[in-house]
């Protein structure tokens, strides 16, 4: 196998996309010609606020380790965990090690870990103390000096949103927000980014007093998924789909983001949020915008985000009075999912007994532009549904004359459906109709399928890996911009207002307001089926 020796990074080259910066390197370094430019970015000190929490342990640290494993982290890259819990550097490293062992998608290698762990540090402190942030600034400078991080700083808000403002205000106060000479400073903000339009605007206004928009990376991990990015490639790298990607050929679109778990021990948090805020405002509207946007002039941060914003602006704002006609909300009742009994939402710990927080939302969304006028986008998301699945399904119009129509139910069979499966079993399928072999004309639907696994032989990498690498490289294409967040919240806040109106009306009439329910392990409430049935359609069976 002598001549075939090959370093790990070359085998796992999926993420090694050439960039403008990489192209410049290739032009200047004569040895780079003909080699893929592996995007490793600059060394930096990354401060994770909320480093003792679940997000850091389950996602961020394992993703950073995976990048180190693939040699995509630059030498000198340093992680400084910051949280209230009083850990030492060693204790933090041990937690990180456990997180990697449990959640990393690559093999744990002691040697890689040793090298990675040398760059892990921890500092305990509150989020609202300027003195502690002064100490933090000093520690960052020391680490920068010791590990040659070139004055590059990356701050990651992996805390509850309630402390975002305190953290960023203190970063500004101790002069950590302004890039140091020769370096860069970036801020990553996790969702939820506000809980309605007013709070999102207030948070944006606050952040933009301290940071420049270009420094802020609002993360929606859905955009880091290969399959979500592939929606753009599928649409704009194939000549055959874009001409029929419009109201002339598309009947309607269904987007499903289903979770099989209930709220579990997150009831206290979830009850203040709900499915609309938790899933629709971000993940589902991102899927809508990528599916429906106009072609960008280039695949760069500005051009892509401009088109996404244009699309979001085209979503029809609902008047509060018409919200019940276009949306359905519900809570799960007790039921069985994957053989396991789930209590009703109202029985979950931390949930108010009279809660009207929705665990399921369906929304008939309309886009008011030339391309999509008259084509409804049906969105649904929920907890305690039969299985975890995310997909975008494009239903094409039926053939104008059904030559082979023999039975009523066959009309449904002969509608072409293009399904883009985001997770699991990532891939794309196209349902077409064929004649069953035999003397009679019986039409049978069959699927033409593409699976990542069968074409590429490997499971796509974790979204956080890609997104963290993009932040280190300063590529904001897969992050949401201020205007994008606010337009999405504007449309969602209209629904929240409509629901509030509905509840106030019930109270004014002396009625107790209760949400519809659906049995855990089923595909949602009857009302959601009726939402589509009114249009002569039904939800896709998944």
């Amino acid at each position: 196998m002598a001549e075939d020796a090959m370093a790990e990074e070359i085998i796992g080259r999926a993420g090694a996309t050439p960039t403008a910066a990489g192209t410049a390197i290739a032009e200047e370094n004569p040895l780079r010609d003909g080699l893929d430019v592996v995007r490793t970015g600059d060394p930096a000190v990354m401060v994770i606020f909320g480093a003792s929490g679940d997000l850091a342990r389950r996602k961020l640290i394992p993703a950073l380790y995976n990048l180190a494993y693939q040699r995509l982290l630059p030498p000198g890259f340093t992680v400084l965990g910051y949280a209230r819990s009083p850990y030492t550097d060693e204790e933090f490293r041990e937690r990180a090690r456990q997180g990697i062992l449990e959640h990393s998608s690559v093999n744990f290698q002691e040697e890689i870990w040793e090298s990675f762990a040398q760059g892990l540090f921890y500092m305990a402190g509150p989020y609202n103390s300027r003195e502690d942030f002064q100490r933090l600034a000093q520690r960052i400078d020391e680490l920068d000096e010791a590990r040659n991080a070139h004055h590059n700083r990356l701050f990651y808000l992996a805390t509850p949103p309630t402390v975002y403002q305190a953290i960023t205000a203190n970063l500004g106060a101790v002069d950590l927000a302004r890039p140091k000479e020769g370096g860069w400073t970036r801020l990553v903000v996790e969702k939820p980014f506000g809980r309605d339009l007013a709070s999102a605007r207030a948070l944006n206004d606050h952040l933009l007093q301290i940071f420049q928009e270009e420094q802020i990376y609002r993360i929606d991990h859905y955009l880091g998924k290969e399959t979500v990015q592939n929606i753009l490639v599928f649409r704009f790298a194939n000549g055959i789909f874009e001409p029929i990607w419009n109201r002339n050929y598309v009947d309607h679109v269904q987007i499903t983001v289903a979770e099989s778990i209930g709220v579990g021990d997150r009831g206290g948090y979830y009850d203040k949020s709900g499915a609309l805020r938790d899933m629709v405002q971000n993940h589902l509207l991102q899927l809508v915008s990528l599916t429906a946007m106009e072609p960008p002039v280039a695949f760069d941060a500005k051009a892509v985000r401009d088109q996404k914003v244009n699309l979001l602006r085209s979503i029809r704002s609902l008047e509060p009075e018409e919200v019940p006609d276009y949306t359905v909300r519900a809570q799960y009742a007790s039921g069985i999912v994957n053989g396991k009994r789930i209590p009703s939402y109202l029985e979950e710990p931390g949930v108010a007994p009279n809660s009207t927080t929705e665990t399921y939302v369906a929304w008939k969304l309309e886009i008011e532009n030339w391309r999509w006028s008259g084509v409804p986008f049906y969105l649904r998301t929920g907890k305690a549904l039969p299985k975890k699945i995310t997909e975008v399904a494009i239903y094409f119009r039926k053939a104008p004359h059904l030559l082979f129509k023999t039975q009523h139910h066959q009309e449904e069979l002969i509608q072409n459906v293009l399904a883009m499966r985001i997770q699991p079993n990532e891939g794309i399928s196209l349902k077409i109709s064929v004649k069953q072999p035999g003397p009679a004309v019986h039409i049978q639907p069959v699927k033409m399928e593409f699976h990542y696994g069968s074409s590429f032989g490997r499971v796509p990498p974790d979204a956080y890996e890609r997104l963290l690498l993009d932040v280190i490289l300063g590529d904001g294409t897969l992050f949401t911009r201020r205007d994008e967040v606010e337009v999405a919240w504007e449309r969602v806040t209209r629904i929240l207002e409509g629901w509030q109106l509905e509840e106030e009306k019930a109270r004014a009439e002396g009625r107790e307001f209760r949400l519809p329910t659906y049995e855990a392990g089923t595909w949602g409430p009857r009302e959601a089926d009726e939402l589509l049935a009114r249009d002569g359609r039904r939800w896709r069976r998944l």
Partner: protein
Amino acid sequence: MTNPQANPQTEPQQADQQITQLVEQVLSGRPQPVDVEQIEQALDELWRQVAAAQASPEQPVPELSITRAHAVNMVVFVKEPAQQERVDQALKDLALNKPARAIVLVEQEAVESPEGAAPPDDRDQEGQAGLQAWIATLCHRPDPSWPYVCSERITIAAPRPVIAELHSAVVSLFVSDVPNVLWWCAPLPEEMEELHLFSHLARNVDLLVFSAAVFRNPLKDLQRLRALAQEEEPRPPAISELIWLGIHPWREMVARPFDDPENRALLPYIESVTVRYVAGGDVRQPQFQPVAPALLVAWLAERLSWQTVMPLRFSPQGIGACEFAAEFQPYVSVELIPAALPGAAPGTIIGVELNAHRVGPGRDAGGRFRMERLGDGSWVRTLVRIQGQVRLERIAQFRGATVGELLAQVVGQLAPDAIFLQVLEKLDEMQRPA
């Protein structure tokens, strides 16, 4: 092969047994002898049975949750019996990364029945004298929650006189709309039959892959590849070679320190290069000359515009030496030093060191760039010293890629590799007498 679902009279027990046999046959990948003229039909029948078993409402067969996939047609020509095992393993590894319809052509003197296979009927039929064929599946699960991904392997064995005519059988077996690749896992064709087969197949593929490791005189024969690539009529497909692909990570490791502009400033001042490699036999014999180190040096020389001053020569101890002239460095000395790495095959590169020295009033600078495999070879350390100070030290994993992984990598590109051809030209220059 019978269809367990087709006969309504089949007893349930028999049907179960047949399905068990079907599952075993598909997932084991055991070759089945078939008539050469019936290969496609036999494969169709196999997949039809699988589909029938999958569709059976009474007897769902979870083991037969299978996706049949073809991302490439991979034709392999094998001449030496010793190469068969290597090819078998390579195709299994390729299937993990790129499901392929593999069509393996073997000279009959060189083949026995594939491992575990029953011999085919010993019969000669008109037009296919002496041809033997087997079909097998290559299945794997990318993830435990995913269905099996299965592709196919077809083996055709033929005696030498018939080899020349094999191309027609091969082309008819191509799956449409996927790239066609020919991996010529044999010395470069010289005999008439092989030349005929090669030229016909080359016209029908998008990529030719060679293994210089099995060439009779690898360093010289690589020049024939260059000549082949430069032919005008017929225009050849893209050409690649496995040893060249295998040194990709070394190119990457050597290039990476020079992404830093301060290090890059020393590139024109490299004065010596040492490549350590695993020694094989007597390097004065052409077949034992270390190809990978020579290609790596040729790549450096080509990229840095070095001109050969003293051609590559090997001492009886296996030490290779040559000299170049660079724009700012009149002598760049290069040494290829044999060394040991347990378990590594002869020719394997185990370390590269570049030394640079820039002189001038107020601009004296020296740099040492060292990349070496550590311990059992699973790790590689990059050490950069500038002016005697450690500027970068990094340890990363290094593992041997299989031939199948290299094939999957090159199949994913398919474009002509201009750098490879330039490197071959430099290699030619390095071997010419001064």
